[in-house]
């Protein structure tokens, strides 16, 4: 039987490529105000959700303290459905830091090309995470490259720039 939920979704943004903007000033890419709210508006999302911009960091710059902050937010929030947007380089590390939180479905996602690009995986990935957060049983997941992975059985293959599931 099709089992679904109307429970609201918490979206935590932490930065990463998905939110990168190009700044002519410095001729550099930097993490800007999150583009995630705009992606959700463009997707005409009417499902109840709250979006919190928690951090604006490249995931290589995330510290243990940052990961504890993210985990504390997930644990303390009243939501049982959580989406986290995150840089891809250390996404699996944050997934590990979230293990052991009971009774919540937590889905990490991000993008390999900035959401502000014409050709980006951002919307698709956010859609995957939003759906998985509603449908998957409690646990930690990573939604990237078209797959919903168990959070502890996936690695990012740096050479091919894609996430690969472990057996």
């Amino acid at each position: 039987m099709a089992q679904t939920t109307a429970e609201p979704v918490l979206v935590l943004t932490t930065g990463g490529t998905i939110d990168k903007q190009y700044f002519d000033a410095t001729s550099d890419y930097q993490i800007a105000d999150s583009f995630v709210p705009r992606l959700l508006a463009t997707a005409r999302v009417t499902h109840a959700f709250e979006c919190r911009e928690l951090l604006h960091k490249d995931s290589l710059d995330l510290t243990d303290a940052d990961r504890q902050l993210i985990a504390a937010q997930v644990r303390a929030c009243g939501y049982s459905r959580v989406v986290i947007t995150h840089g891809t380089d250390t996404m699996t590390q944050t997934a590990k830091a979230l293990a052991g939180i009971e009774g919540k479905t937590v889905v990490l996602t991000g993008a390999l090309a900035p959401a502000r690009f014409n050709e980006t995986d951002a919307s698709f990935n956010l859609g995957m995470a939003f759906a998985a957060a509603q449908v998957a049983p409690p646990g930690v997941y990573i939604a990237m490259n078209g797959t919903v992975f168990a959070g502890d059985r996936v690695v990012k293959d740096a050479t091919r720039k894609q996430f690969v599931g472990l057996p």
Copy 2:
């Protein structure tokens, strides 16, 4: 525990707004070759999938025979994870025609604005469907407006142009 699958996904395209192109010739929109394969490529999907362009119809033009064709394809295919892209006007009707197919997770989705538009819900919706097809238990679902609905408990509110879940 996070339970996920590496099973391949069948994507059936049937037309609808998601695939609408604008043709200057006739100063008219028409349903074109499906844009879905390009959306999946842009999303850098590496998950195994097959895409079949089954129909190219506005969903208001789908007949009972078309719905039987779709159901027959779903039933006969070797896949247990199926995504169907479909016009929004009669999506719930097709969902009903698919009820009773055992052992398969079938997710219908589409778009309220053409995928070829700058601002479209197409990628997000396709991502939702792709994830739900992997994660949800067998049954028929509709993924639209940020929600994964049970296929038999949702209507399209024509006035507000959005899908609304039934209690």
Copy 3:
């Protein structure tokens, strides 16, 4: 010697494919509020200009009275640099109706694909028209398909859907 002008530009919008939006309500394309102001903002135009939304019509629906209205606006306005966005099907007809206006550079342009599409000629064409209005001597021009045509020496080839210059 490079001769340029800082004179302001009047932009008159009259409708056409460039402004077509897709309306799910009617499953139809219709001419919406002009997208031209947004194109100019995205292009970071700081050159002085005024934009007037004069008509919202498919160019096949333009009447002689409409063309007289357009010509009257061009004649009466204080500007000597005028850009007109227009449907492509009768653009050459409107160009003829504008012939004989002295001392003004008038450039018609439009788009073969709606400006709201991911892949559209709208921005490029508007850029061409904006530049030609500043640089070309008084007269009537059509800027389409990468060419600035003299307004009375160009036809739209309906079969190939492109503008072709006459010798």
Copy 4:
């Protein structure tokens, strides 16, 4: 009288923000294969042109030798209509290096946001340059921010990130 030309246009690409791509590998932007041919295809340009990818450099990295190379190409080419895409930071410097080439209309342009972005001035600017190259008398021009500037009477205001004409 409307005076136009069917003479072909040479497009020289030299790099700059217009061609910047984001590379996840290095979490860095770099200048990629030029996006200019794709912009011209999307604009459905049927006007005769040749595109040469001459350099792939941030304009801050252009040397005197690079500028001599660009000038030599312009001088030696058989074309009298030339568009040069170029980084914005030293565009005015290259314009100076091109002064004194007789009988050719040379228009420099570029973009303040990468052409691969959803919201970019690239197409509009390229359209301006393409039109100005056809319509303007011989000389060197810069087409940016909606204005066709004389190449020797414009500066880039680094603070406001826009080109400003000199009196």
